[in-house]
Symmetry: C2
Subunit: 216 residues, 2 copies
DNA sequence: TAGATTGTTAATCGATTAACAATC
DNA sequence: TAGATTGTTAATCGATTAACAATC
């Protein structure tokens, strides 16, 4: 019998990490149950929306009582694919790469960075947090042998696509790209282009809008 | 006469930075005109969608010819609020903070980080790229005096909200938060919570979905 | 003119919200 | 039972797509 793949819309999916984070803190506090209203306050999302989103697990809540914190936490983690530790490699050990390597939020999500790569002879063979940095030339070899499925790209724009291609050739199925270019991948590979500058542009626009509105 | 505030939906806004980036490269290549089809290929978004999005500037394109690269570039930059340089401060000079300080995509968007702050006596008064790091205690004073409107938060979770409060009190109107918590702000302040771990969670889910699908 | 491509209207699709019956 | 809160259905809202007339 195969696992029923839980279908979630793109939009629901975006909200899940927030629920997960909030529910995690509730768990830490030792709470037993929470209502959709309480979650709503915690994550600033409409309570109806939340109930709707949580409907993907059938009948996980108890009317009149709320949701079991523990169960909800566990289910959310499962849907988000955080149950098993995911091993990843990171390519590009500049400042951004280093920041990612010890970004605090990741452990909770079970991400384990097991391979560090760079092309700069000056950093190759040095260590970060006890992990050695390898030459990019070895990327294909190592990724293939360790059966790594996730690659994190923190190299300059002009290298990003070619690094991605190498990763894919080596069997990587999920790419998290921080270079400010849109990476092309085949159908069976998922990619997330995390363009920080785009986030900035969005913020600037909202800001510009607000400030001109202010004068009317 | 006041500037007509161009209304853009949340979704259009998310696509604009991509257009902007692509059009920038066309400009660099010296192209005169591009069609919505060409942009579509470049950014992997439906051409109709693009035309629809670009309708916010009235009649900027020429039927049968396309859009003037130069004009489009300039208009997009304007809408995104990138015309004037935006000065910002950053609080939290850890690895992430340092990565942000020299992330390559930002200059193009006119972001200028003019103040660096941290609470660690070990880094206060040291310099990065020639810019001195100040004590957080001076944040309110300096931000207020320089009339800074944008604050970037790269401190640990537990400090994020309080730093945000200080920023707001000092007159900051836009906050870009990298700490993995949702920051609360008053109505007249815009905030963008850039939770990297949430991005990871999204990627993991997509990945998990793909891999189980693969077996059917 | 003929060909290309825009701007716009109408049709479709999907997400959010409101209302409420079912359940503890 | 009465009160609370879920799960679900129906109504609304907004975004995307398709079709095409207008324009260069």
């Amino acid at each position: 019998m195969k696992d029923p793949v839980i279908k979630v819309t793109k939009f629901t999916l975006k909200r899940l990490p927030h629920y997960y984070r909030f529910v995690s803190t509730c768990l830490d506090k030792g709470l037993q149950f929470i209502s959709s209203e309480e979650i709503a306050k915690g994550v600033q999302i409409n309570a109806v929306q939340i109930r709707r989103d949580l409907m993907m697990f059938e009948a996980i809540g108890t009317p009149g009582v709320g949701y079991s914190v523990e169960e909800l936490h566990s289910k959310l983690g499962e849907v988000l694919g955080l149950k098993n530790v995911n091993e990843a490699v990171i390519i590009g050990i500049g400042r951004l790469g280093r920041a990612i390597i010890d970004y605090p939020g990741f452990e909770r999500y079970g991400l384990k960075i097991v391979g560090l790569f760079d092309s700069d002879p000056g950093v190759i063979a040095t260590k970060i947090n006890g992990k050695e940095i390898f030459a990019v030339d070895e990327l294909e070899h190592i990724v293939g042998r360790l059966h790594i499925k996730i690659g994190i790209i923190t190299v300059p724009d002009e290298w990003a696509q070619s690094v991605a291609d190498t990763l894919i050739k080596s069997g990587v199925k999920a790419i998290w790209n921080f270079a400010p270019v849109d990476i092309r991948v085949p159908e069976d590979v998922v990619v997330r282009n995390e363009d920080l500058a785009a986030g900035l542009a969005t913020l600037c626009h909202l800001f510009a809008g607000k400030s001109s509105d202010g004068f009317h």
